[in-house]
Amino acid sequence: MRTTARRGLVIATTLTLLLGLTACGADDAPGSGEPVPGVTDTEIVVGTHMPLTGPASAGYSKIAPATKAYFDYVNANGGVHGRKITYKIMDDGYNPATTQQVVRQLVLQDKVFAVINGLGTPTHTGVLDFLHSNRVPDLFVASGSRSWDQPDKYPNTFGFNPDYTVEGKILATHVKSTMPGSKVCFLGQDDDFGRDALVGVEKVLGAGGVTAKQTYVTSNTNVAPQIGAFKEAGCEVVILATVPGFTALSVGTAARLGYRPQWVVSNVGSDHPTLARQLGDAAGLLEGMVGLNYLPMQTDTENPWIQLFNKINTEHNSGAEFDGNTVYGMAVGYLFVQALQAAGKDLTRQSLIEAVRKGGYQGPGVAPLRFSATDHSGYGGGRLTRVTEGKQSFFGPTYETDENDGPVQEYTVAPVTPPANGVPAA
């Protein structure tokens, strides 16, 4: 009987010793002269969580390396106020539980200054409270959920993508004006992404304007029932609020069922190179697909931003295949450097948040970025794209709208050109 007691004590001591080895430091009670987490005179450490593996990794796994490449380019050009940016990328496999773990590791162990461009609606929703209670700047979340735009509740969180509702309104307006009277159906991810997008679509088409509505979950890679239901209902237009893997899956499944509707796809799931890679030989099915974008098109080699990003991609991203995700990642990097420049040399978490809140940023985007004290959503609109002969390009004007009942209207401010050295000025 005594053996149990002894064994228990042995375990306890072993544990104590084991943990004692890894022990480091006691309480860090906040004082006035305390250094800012992740910031030294020569370095700024920031981090992100991304699906580098798992159901949403198709395409998205290229975003963080592109952002890192842009930071490396800035570092090679002297950094920001003499500080180099270190970007820690953590894989969460698009699993909210893993996101919890890796974000805690970033904040508590790696002591990052800010979390930049954490990707995913379901994943990032789970860490909002944690980031808020630790006062970590949570900038440019890679998702268009309206959750990021709650300045009162989450003063340190800012979005990047247009709200899915804004996007849904613009896509539905296009459907309504160019294909009037056609049967419209909707497939959305079963979370805020799909729900917010549907809200936008129904704001324009009316509650009865969508013939069939279906949802999918990323853990089940069979969308045949949903697509079958659309075919059954005779849908001529299908609006997709899907991540790239599921856009490709939907298009492929429809073809197998001998069904060819007009696809109208949310920005996050409509990057042509990503989809074409997924579909392989069947990439031709994407012909005529309508999408939306608010950043310059990767195929537009005349665009000075694309020229700059292409150059950085070759020099700092080992010439990875250049697609919409690359442009996206670098645009995020550019915006963060703009915010750092605006925050000034005396960098604190508060000064960074103040700088973002002040707004007035213009970068590669064709649509307006409208950060303010009361608006923490990202881009406020976008321009429609179409795939013609295997090439995705813009058509029509740029639209902007709000997430409420505001009209969908043209946005006429011309895009700016990048600074000569590719690094935003202070």
Binding site: M1, T4, A5, R7, G8, L9, V10, I11, A12, T13, L15, T16, L19, G20, T22, A23, C24, G25, A26, D27, A29, P30, L52, T53, G54, S61, P65, I89, D91, G93, N95, P96, A97, T98, Q100, Q101, R104, Q105, L108, Q109, T121, P122, T125, G126, D129, F130, S133, D190, D191, D192, V217, T218, S219, N220, S318, A320
Partner: protein, 344 residues
């Protein structure tokens, strides 16, 4: 000394050690240790079921999910009614155990009629069905996005800047120690002997007048309660719950962890729980050591833990069939027997 008193003393000692350790460690390590404590409830329960009673379960991840969702719904209900005291957590945790016991009873009654692969099949089905339910009934469970778990912050009496993670460790470790005391006592009780008798020879047990099916159901319910508590603690730590955290992989990991730790002894469950937390961390540092191309490193990081877990399982099974704890007790035994020889 009576068994209960001794177990309580050991628990008090361990509790004191955790308390001191919590002041030595930084926030992230405290959080990791709290996660170990949460997993420990589940691995200890599974050790009793598999190691002591000889039943296999591939569905304990799902039972953890049951506990986790119960805690989420209870805490949300409390907070919606404006009850935000830290004491609500005790009620929610108790509810989580209760609900998991009911689910465990249903599965256990069915499981007591099944043997070997059929039992594995049934529990496997549970592991698949429960997370799927959260997606089907997404009005209640909010699909893959999951639910937030509102938790009261550390009591103000501890100070305004008391690290949240240290408080989490105290809550998790306290609950787990209580759970372990109960389980350890059970192992030493009449029921523990019944479990072992059923495991070693069902026919002999039946001849000795033991109600085999009832014993197996009790073992299943006890281990389900452990899993439910563990899942509930995990949800409280993460302040959110989603089906992704409780997939089939978790069930398999739990089983592998108790096998590697050492079946049949609660101490083995401690090693298993440690392994569950340490392994992903280890592989992350490991992939950072290699100078691989970024793409390859990223792909490795997601898949390496699985591969390493599998490899560890094989190595442990060949080198130390009794698991880590079996190896340790063999070593201590050898040291103890050698000592008199050295003296002479």
């Amino acid at each position: 000394m009576p068994t209960l008193l001794r177990h309580l003393l050991v628990a008090a000692g361990v509790g004191l050690a955790v308390l001191m350790v919590s002041y030595q460690l930084d926030s992230y390590r405290n959080f990791q240790l709290a996660t170990v404590a949460a997993y420990l409830c589940a691995t200890a329960g599974l050790t009793i079921l598999t190691g002591l009673c000889g039943q296999l379960s591939l569905g304990h991840g799902a039972l953890m999910a049951t506990g986790a969702y119960t805690v989420a719904l209870c805490q949300a209900a409390f907070f919606d009614r404006g009850v935000t005291s830290g004491l609500t957590l005790i009620g929610s945790l108790a509810a989580a155990v209760l609900v998991t016991v009911v689910v465990g009873l249903v599965v256990g009654v069915a499981a007591a009629r099944l043997r070997g692969p059929y039992l594995a099949g049934l529990t496997l089905a549970v592991a698949v069905v429960v997370p799927a339910l959260t997606v089907t009934l997404d009005g209640v469970f909010n699909g893959e996005q999951g639910l937030p778990v509102p938790v009261a912050p550390a009591p103000e009496s501890l100070g305004l800047y008391f690290p949240h993670e240290r408080w989490q460790l105290w809550v998790a470790a306290g609950t787990t120690l209580l759970c372990l005391v109960v389980l350890a006592n059970l192992v030493r009780s009449r029921y523990g002997r019944l479990f072992r008798a059923v495991r070693d020879d069902e026919v002999a047990a039946r001849l000795a007048g033991i109600h085999v099916a009832r014993t197996q159901v009790i073992a299943f319910v006890v281990s389900a309660a452990g899993a439910g508590l563990g899942g509930a603690l995990l949800a409280v730590l993460a302040q959110s719950v989603s089906p992704g955290a409780f997939g089939l992989t978790l069930s398999l990991f739990l089983l592998m962890a108790v096998v590697i730790g050492g079946l049949g002894r609660l101490a083995g469950a401690v090693w298993g729980a440690l392994l569950l937390v340490a392994l992903p961390d280890l592989t992350h540092s490991l992939t950072n050591l290699f100078t691989l191309s970024p793409a390859a490193a990223q792909r490795l990081e997601g898949n390496l833990p699985l591969a390493i877990f599998g490899a560890t399982l094989i190595v442990v099974m060949i080198a130390a069939p009794g698991g880590v704890q079996g190896l340790l007790s063999r070593l201590t035994h050898r040291l103890r027997t050698r000592r008199p020889v050295g003296r002479s």
